[in-house]
Structures are given as structure tokens and as C-alpha cells.
């Protein structure tokens, strides 16, 4: 695989030159369209083509974002959302890992669990919200459960698939060395399944973030999703847009962080080949 990541010349990149100068040119070209959009947006808002309830001017959005930041509102709400997502993700990922490991390792467990799990997995986290609301109300448990459900399914699927893909010969080798069952899992199965497990974790985190936004939009009195709802109800699109930007940044950062951990954990693999 490492050869695949060292890609050849990028066919999408025109222009001569290498390295720094070319990078700058590419970034400049990439900024062209957003800048143009910004200009049209500013001019349009100034000239009153669209009412501010439909699209506030960029500087208004910027000022609102700064206000929200300085008043601590944005930070406080983002923190609440992050806390929820981390707790829910941790719970869902733990359960998913356990369930996926059990299904991957034990044929009988798989035989029992498969049908029910597959059936339940057909309903997306989003679909569980009203049911869980009826059962536990709209408090904090609702958010955690929905985020955990969103995380659990991809983590469990991928963990199971990763374990299933471990070559049988490795188990034979392990039994030659008289590894205990725990040792087999810890030293052989888990390391071999790590790439696939991480695929599941990254999907899981993506789903968790999405589930958080949905559940906060639907039932919350704090958090980024609530800020979106509030902005909409107040007809303050500047708040909505600023919050969307924060949601984008956090979503991106979460994924990038997990990708960095993934690369770190998989370094031994590259050396191996």
C-alpha cells in the first residue's frame, strides 16, 4: 500500500514548476472562486439584492462570529457539543468494539447475534431519536444514546470484518506458541485488524458528529445545533452561518485527528512490507 500513497504527478494540477511556488499558485487558484463569491455576496448584500434575513452581508456574519466568540457563547456551546460527541463516541465505540470482536471471534455468538444486529442496524441513528425520546425524554441521555448508536454500527461491522480477515495461519502459529485466548486477541487479532477497525472508528466518529447535530437540532437547549435553531428562529442568519462554519471546522478537526492517530498506529505496517 505505501506506494499508493506516494502518488505520481497530479494530473489535476496544471502549470509548471515544483514545490513551493507551485503550491502557492494552486492555493491562489483555489481561493479565486471563494473570493469572487465573497465579492458578489458583499456587493449583493450592500445593494440590497437580497434581504438580510435571507443572506446577511459577510462583514455582518464576521462581526456576529466575533461577538459570539467574545461573549463566550460560541465556545461554551461548542464545548458542550464536543463533550457530548466524545462521551457518546467513547460509549458507542467501546460497545461496537466489544460486539464486533465477539462476532468476529466466536462463530456461535455470531450465529445468535447476526439477525437481530443486522435488522437493528438497518435503522439509522436518526430513526432512533423519536423512540429513545419516548423512553428517556429529551435530556442528556437521549443525546448520548443516539450518538452512541450512530458510532456503534460502523465500528462493530468493521471490527468484525477486520477480525474475519486475519489469516488462519496466524491462529495456528499462535496455538503452536501456546498463546492463551487473551494473548491471541491482544497480540494477533487486534494488531492485524487495526486498519479495518480504524476505518470503522473514522466512520463512527463521522456518524457521531452527524448524529450530534441532528439530535441537537431536534431537542436541545444548548450546543451548536441549538445555536443553529435559535439563529433560525430569531431570523438571524448570521448566527446560523457562523455556527455552520464552526461545525465544519470541528468536524474536519475530529476526522483529521483520528487520521493522524491512524497513521501513527499503522507505521509498523509500512516498515513491515
Amino acid at each position: 500500500m505505501p506506494t499508493a500513497t506516494i502518488s505520481g504527478p497530479d494530473r489535476a494540477a496544471p502549470g509548471r514548476g515544483f514545490g513551493f511556488a507551485r503550491q502557492i499558485r494552486l492555493i491562489g487558484a483555489g481561493l479565486l472562486v471563494p473570493l469572487l463569491g465573497l465579492v458578489v455576496w458583499t456587493v449583493g448584500a450592500r445593494a440590497g439584492w437580497v434581504p438580510p434575513q435571507i443572506l446577511p452581508a459577510p462583514d455582518v456574519v464576521w462581526d456576529t462570529a466575533l461577538d459570539l466568540w467574545q461573549s463566550g457563547d460560541l465556545f461554551a456551546n461548542a464545548l458542550i457539543s464536543l463533550q457530548r460527541v466524545i462521551l457518546g463516541f467513547a460509549a458507542g465505540a467501546t460497545l461496537g468494539l466489544l460486539l464486533g470482536t465477539a462476532m468476529g471471534l466466536s462463530k456461535p455468538f455470531e450465529a445468535y447475534a447476526h439477525v437481530l444486529f443486522t435488522a437493528l442496524a438497518q435503522v439509522p441513528a436518526l430513526g432512533w431519536i423519536p423512540l429513545v425520546m419516548l423512553l428517556v425524554g429529551i435530556g442528556e441521555p437521549l443525546k448520548l444514546i443516539i450518538i452512541a448508536v450512530g458510532t456503534l454500527v460502523p465500528v462493530a461491522w468493521n471490527t468484525r470484518a477486520g477480525i474475519r480477515a486475519v489469516p488462519l495461519g496466524w491462529f495456528e502459529a499462535a496455538s503452536l506458541w501456546r498463546y492463551s485466548r487473551a494473548q491471541v486477541v491482544w497480540y494477533i487479532v487486534l494488531p492485524a485488524a487495526v486498519p479495518q477497525i480504524f476505518v470503522g472508528l473514522r466512520y463512527g466518529l463521522g456518524h457521531a458528529w452527524l448524529a450530534l447535530v441532528v439530535v441537537e437540532l431536534l431537542a436541545s437547549s444548548e450546543g451548536l445545533g441549538y445555536l443553529l435553531v435559535w439563529g433560525r428562529q430569531m431570523f438571524q442568519l448570521d448566527v446560523v452561518i457562523a455556527t455552520m462554519a464552526v461545525i465544519g471546522v470541528i468536524g474536519f478537526t475530529l476526522d483529521a485527528a483520528l487520521a493522524a492517530i491512524e497513521r501513527r498506529l499503522q507505521r509498523w505496517q509500512v516498515a513491515d512490507q
Partner: protein, 247 residues
């Protein structure tokens, strides 16, 4: 089929029935199973269930068709034109970081809470995965085939038709498949937030508002069943369209 798989299902159903019969819980929250069946029969007889289901599926497929078409067209453009890619790809990559459902308030402000908003939102959900995968696909056309095309003095559209699109097809179909799943999710989400008009999402939310667990569970089952069927249909279509590849 392995019957052991049915054991937990049976345990769940029996447990549900036992809890419901025990009288410890509110029958609206844990309705007996025969109540659920009765509800299903009533809903089917009144055709309200079918109307809701049809509304959701039509909404889903309309938005999906619009979004996926734009996604494929945009993907071919970004995949084949280096200029378009350099100009537009960074903006696209920034926008797609925003969690899908975070668009709902903005879209609702712009398009109202009627049908238009929902379809725009579903189309947005279908657009992103199709575009990404179409770009990947068109770029994966082998250089040799492209050279052959150049040698044969293919025109632009001939190149597209005979070389790029067949090479990109597997990847495009992956994108379309993902889009189908995403847009079903988006349909339900849109119906949660923009409750005007019939739909499965509306049905579920209504069930919650009226404390009718039966209605909510019925809606959930339908979400699962439709999602499962869409997935199956997409997989079958993929198989069929790619059958030439097996050889």
C-alpha cells in the same frame, strides 16, 4: 438458514410482550404486539401509511435524481478539466466539511418548510458522494486507453463516451449507491424538521408528539425496510451494470 439467529429476536419480542402485559408500563409507551399489528392493519386500511410511505419515497428519489445527476456532471467536469478542478475543488472540499444536517436551518430559511426545501436538502445529500466518486473514477481511466483514444482521433464526447465513462463507471456507481443511502437518511431528517406534508419522518415525529409508541415503531421499521430495499436494489443494479467487468 441458521435458526439460532432468531433466538434473540424471539427473546426481544417475548420480553416486549411480557413488559407490556405486566401492566407496569404505560400501554402507549410499550404497546402490546397485537396492538402494533392492529395499528398496522388500520393504517394500511386507511391508506395513510401508504400515502406517507409513497410521499417519502417519491421525495427521496426526486431529490436523489437531481443531486446525483448534478454530482455526476460536476464530477466529470472536475475529473477531466484540470482548470475546473484547481478552481473549484478546494471550495467543494471546504463546504463538504459541514455536517449535512447543519444545512437544514439555512435551507429552510431560503426555501421555506415545504416540498422545495426537502428536495433541495435530499439533493444536497446525494450530490456530495456522487461528485467525489465520479472525480475519482474519471481520473482512474488508464493512460493507455486515453492514448488509444487520442491515436484514433476521438472527439471530446467520443473520448468521454468510449473511454472515460466506462472506466469511471464502477466508481460512479459506488458514489450513486452511497448517495442513495445518504438521500434516504436526508429524507427522514428533512421530514423531522420540516413537518409540513406527509412522510414517514412526519409520521414518526407525530407518534412521539402524541405519545403513540406504536406509530413511532411502525415508522422506524418502515425506515429500516425501505433503506434495506434501496440498498439491495442499488447492489443489484451495480452487479447488472458491471457484468461486463467479470470477464
Amino acid at each position: 438458514m441458521d435458526l439460532r439467529g432468531l433466538v434473540p429476536v424471539a427473546v426481544l419480542l417475548v420480553g416486549w410482550e411480557a413488559v407490556s402485559r405486566s401492566g407496569l408500563t404505560d400501554p402507549r409507551i410499550v404497546p402490546p404486539l397485537e396492538g402494533l399489528l392492529g395499528l398496522l392493519r388500520v393504517e394500511v386500511a386507511q391508506q395513510s401509511l401508504l400515502a406517507n410511505l409513497a410521499a417519502s419515497v417519491v421525495r427521496d428519489l426526486t431529490g436523489f435524481a437531481i443531486g446525483a445527476s448534478i454530482g455526476v456532471a460536476g464530477g466529470v467536469l472536475l475529473g477531466l478539466s484540470p482548470l475546473a478542478s484547481v478552481l473549484l475543488r478546494p471550495s467543494f472540499d471546504v463546504f463538504r466539511q459541514i455536517a449535512l444536517f447543519a444545512w437544514i436551518p439555512l435551507i429552510a430559511m431560503w426555501f421555506g418548510i415545504g416540498e422545495a426545501s426537502k428536495i433541495v436538502f435530499v439533493a444536497l445529500a446525494a450530490f456530495t458522494p456522487t461528485l467525489i466518486n465520479t472525480v475519482e473514477g474519471t481520473r482512474s481511466a488508464s493512460l493507455r486507453l486515453v492514448e488509444v483514444g487520442t491515436l484514433l482521433r476521438y472527439r471530446r464526447w467520443q473520448m468521454l463516451h468510449a473511454i472515460y465513462l466506462p472506466a469511471a463507471l464502477p466508481s460512479i456507481l459506488t458514489g450513486v449507491h452511497l448517495a442513495l443511502i445518504q438521500s434516504w437518511l436526508a429524507t427522514i431528517g428533512a421530514e423531522y424538521f420540516m413537518t409540513a406534508g406527509p412522510g414517514i419522518g412526519t409520521l414518526i415525529i407525530e407518534g412521539r408528539d402524541r405519545f403513540q409508541m406504536g406509530q413511532t415503531v411502525l415508522g422506524m421499521i418502515l425506515i429500516g425496510v425501505v433503506g434495506f430495499l434501496l440498498n439491495r436494489i442499488a447492489r443489484a443494479a451495480e452487479h447488472w451494470l458491471l457484468r461486463w467487468r467479470v470477464a
